[in-house]
């Protein structure tokens, strides 16, 4: 760094420096402040969005609960449109699928759930997939249902395995593959399924005695 002899020289040097760098310093400050303000705005905007989404979604839940299907449908659509970046959009999708099933429109319900299974996070995609397979069971697409379940990575689905196993059993029963169905149900039971119907389903699949003695 240079050493200046007099005050004038120092002032002179400062002026020079300012002339060269003043604009960029101001620009830097302005950009910095704008960033902070922008960030704050963005945060509060996001918060506000989430709060609005939550309130709208609550209305949707209330409408569904009251069996007010028409307004539920509209609310679900609005939540998805206006707050597509929040998770409330996904939950609204789940509710929409239910509404479609109630109207007997299984094909559209399937589409919605397929979309959710593909794009949502792990937990929700499992929920969507389980419901999707249940629809496939209802529409007789048993093989496709089996395929969907077989594609699930067992490592990521440990918590859901009981539900998948019971569904697997249902699919096998529909395909009249009783031995496989039995195994699937028993897996579900062993892993602590709380499904109230499961025990009845297992009892209904008791193997004839000859097979039992072989065990």
């Amino acid at each position: 760094m240079a050493i200046y002899d007099t005050e004038e020289e120092q002032v002179e040097a400062l002026k020079r420096w300012w002339k060269e760098n003043g604009t960029s310093t101001i620009a830097g400050l302005v950009v910095g402040i704008a960033l902070i303000l922008g960030w704050n705005y963005w945060q509060s905007h996001k918060k506000e969005q989430a709060a609005q989404a939550s309130a709208l979604y609550d209305q949707l839940l209330t409408a569904t609960d009251a069996g007010n299907k028409e307004s539920a449908e509209k609310l679900a659509e609005r939540t998805k449109e206006q707050f597509g970046t929040t998770k409330y959009a996904l939950y609204s999708g789940l509710v929409q699928a239910k509404l479609k099933v109630q109207q007997g429109d299984l094909a559209v319900a399937k589409q919605i759930l397929e979309g959710l299974a593909a794009k949502s996070d792990d937990e929700l995609s499992h929920i969507a997939r389980i419901r999707l397979v249940r629809l496939m069971l209802a529409t007789g697409e048993h093989e496709q249902g089996l395929e969907v379940i077989n594609k699930v990575d067992p490592a990521s689905s440990s918590g859901f395995s009981v539900t998948y196993d019971e569904l697997l059993g249902d699919l096998y029963v529909a395909l009249d593959r009783r031995a496989e169905a039995r195994t699937a149900y028993q897996n579900a039971l062993r892993n602590g399924s709380q499904s109230p119907l499961l025990q009845l389903k297992i009892d209904d699949l008791t193997a004839p005695e000859i097979i039992q003695t072989q065990k």
């Binding site: 709060a51 998770k87 789940l94 509710v95 099933v101 859901f160 109230p196 008791t206």
Partner: protein
């Protein structure tokens, strides 16, 4: 079945709500600050740490809901911790998902809570007082409520969005309403006529020692301090009672009811004192042939009451000027006073309603008085004696006599009782658990056991019988009976097996039954809920394999009487919806959907828990 699902669903949901309401009171945060640095956490979920206090508090709430049930404390604590962890995992997830609760919703929810209501309305004071007592700020509480509502919103997202298809509903009824046709015979268990030999009896006794065990038993001696007993000993004299009566007079007094009206002649800038008084005297004269309320409406300067005939409502001493009060309280019903002066001016006062006060006489309430006097006096004595009882029984741990003498109590004795069962004083689980506590087992006095608010018991062991096996000579008859039963059962089982083999070989059930002098029962269209059959048989029928290739399924099952059933299942008919079911189709669909949703939600929780970073201190786990 349907109702079962429903109960289950509702139970689980109600439990959820309960947690939501309880969790906010759990004081998590505060405990953590206090606990930090002093003791290691017992568990952690992500960044969140739980201390022993958290577990204790959760346990307290948990056990309150299970009051009266005798469940092991350690087990409950482990469950409480599990619950804490589960909730925390869910909470962290919904936060990460970006769920929020609006201020408005939280406010409405808090307002709807009964805790904070007075006469059915939210009460700010009550709210603040309750939070204070929990040492919680409003901000903390609101944030806790918000968390809880967030969790509930998510739970509803999964459970309420669940559906059941037509296929699901039909499958349910196919299984639930299934019907089965069965022919069966009962092979009775008949006791052999001949008595078993001595050797057989001895051998059976040896093999079944555990059947002849007597559990550990104790009896105790105890002293009991009871408020009622003390109260009875309190001496009562008329003198003391009278003093007490004077103290409690208010309780036996109904105050006088006096309603008054007035007409005011104001003294102000326009009207001086003299004029006001003259007007008042004039008015008083007019009252001879004019109604008081009419006149009040016409001339009273108290415009507020003038409209209602000068009515001032019930008169309460201490709220008016002295002169006014004296006049008002000395008037008879209907009488109008002379003008009375107050800072406002001159009043004419009238008593419009008068119900004289009543004081119940000492004689009338003497019995009642005696009781409450004795009780009031006894409370102090009870408290003091309780202290003495506690101290002396602790200082003289090897006997009860000292403390009994000091307090003038008699030592009573219980009969023998076990950990789980007892009579008299041992009927109380608190007494049993004290009797089997380590201290008492070592021969010391127990600490005082509180039975309700008004009884205290200290006990010590009188007799201790360890668990033992009863001698053969004592139980010989039982052994012989058991042996005979066993033999009968074995015989019946063997015979049932023979019958079964022959049926499986294709012989007709009628022929085999006739040969063995058994009666064949033929049932068609048996349903799950059928009450005609013993339920063990019903269960077995619905667990039997479907008949294959036109061949009936043959199976055996035992009845509680040891009789054996051999049955032939010839037909399984798929269930269909009954007319009743159809009527309730909507409800059924809803309930099935809900059951699916509950299942999916619990699967989701399990999945979250499997992925979460949870650590639990080993010893807690070991107690699990």
């Amino acid at each position: 079945m349907l109702t079962k699902i429903r109960e289950k669903a509702q139970g689980a949901f109600a439990w959820g709500i309960l947690i939501i309401i309880c969790v906010p009171f759990a004081l998590w945060g505060i405990q953590n600050y206090l606990g930090a640095g002093k003791e290691p956490p017992v568990a952690s979920v992500g960044d969140r740490e739980f201390y022993q206090q958290d577990v204790n508090r959760a346990y307290e709430q948990y056990s309150q809901n299970l009051q009266g049930m005798n469940i092991d404390e350690q087990m409950l604590k482990a469950q409480a911790l599990e619950k804490l962890i589960k909730d925390e995992v869910l909470l962290q997830y919904v936060h990460a998902e970006g769920l929020v609760t609006t201020d408005n919703k939280a406010r409405e929810f808090i307002k709807s809570l009964e805790y904070f209501q007075v006469d059915g309305k939210f009460d700010e004071k009550q709210y603040k007082a309750l939070l204070n007592s929990q040492r919680m700020t409003s901000a903390e509480f609101v944030s806790r409520i918000k968390n809880a509502l967030m969790m509930e919103q998510f739970q509803r997202s999964i459970i309420d969005s669940s559906f059941a298809t037509q296929y699901d509903v039909e499958s349910f009824f196919k299984i639930q309403n299934q019907q089965r046709d069965v022919d069966y015979v009962i092979v009775p268990a008949q006791q052999p006529a001949e008595q078993p030999s001595e050797e057989e009896v001895a051998a059976y006794y040896q093999q079944h020692q555990d059947l002849y065990k007597v559990p550990e038993q104790v009896s105790v001696e105890y002293v009991e301090l009871s408020l009622d007993d003390i109260a009875k000993t309190i001496e009562v004299t008329d003198e003391k009672l009278k003093a007490f009566y004077e103290e409690q007079r208010d309780q036996y007094t109904t105050p006088e009811r006096r309603k008054i009206s007035h007409i005011l002649f104001a003294i102000n800038d326009k009207t001086d004192e003299k004029t006001a008084l003259e007007k008042a005297l004039q008015a008083k004269k007019e009252l001879a042939d004019k109604d008081f309320s009419t006149l009040a409406a016409e001339v009273s300067d108290d415009k507020l009451t003038a409209k209602t005939g000068g009515d001032l409502g019930l008169f309460t001493a201490g709220t008016m000027e002295k002169e006014f009060e004296e006049a008002a309280s000395s008037l008879q019903l209907g009488e109008v006073s002379e003008p009375v002066k107050s800072p406002y001016g001159y009043h004419l006062i009238k008593v419009t309603e008068l119900v004289p006060g009543e004081v119940k006489s000492f004689e009338a309430v003497k019995a009642e008085l005696t009781k409450s006097y004795q009780k009031a006096q006894a409370e102090n004595a009870f408290y003091e004696s309780g202290e003495t009882l506690s101290e002396m029984s602790y200082e003289n741990p090897d006997n009860l006599q000292t403390v009994a003498d000091a307090l003038g109590l008699t030592i009573k004795k219980s009969t023998l009782f076990t950990r789980d069962n007892g009579e008299g004083i041992a009927g109380d689980p608190k007494i049993r658990s004290a009797a089997f506590s380590e201290d008492v087992q070592q021969g010391n006095n127990s600490t005082p056991v509180e039975l309700g608010d008004d009884r205290l018991v200290v006990l010590r062991m009188l007799e201790h019988k360890v668990a033992a096996t009863r001698d053969l000579s004592e139980v010989k008859q039982d052994v012989i009976a058991a042996l005979l039963r066993d033999k009968a059962k074995q015989q019946a089982t063997e015979k049932a097996q023979q019958v079964k083999s022959r049926l499986q070989a294709g012989e007709s059930i009628d022929a085999v039954a006739a040969e063995n002098k058994l009666e064949v029962k033929k049932m068609t269209g048996i349903t799950r809920g059928d009450r005609e059959l013993p339920w063990q048989l019903n269960q077995a029928i619905f667990k039997a394999a479907h008949p294959v290739g036109g061949k009936p399924t043959i199976f055996t099952t035992a009845l509680p009487s040891d009789d054996q059933v051999v049955a032939s299942l010839s037909k399984v008919k798929e269930g269909v919806m009954t007319e009743d079911d159809k009527k309730q189709l909507e409800l059924a669909t809803k309930n099935i959907a809900r059951a699916f949703g509950q299942n999916e939600f619990s699967a989701l929780l399990n999945s979250l828990q499997a992925e979460a970073d949870i650590s639990v201190k080993p010893q807690i786990q070991a107690q699990n």
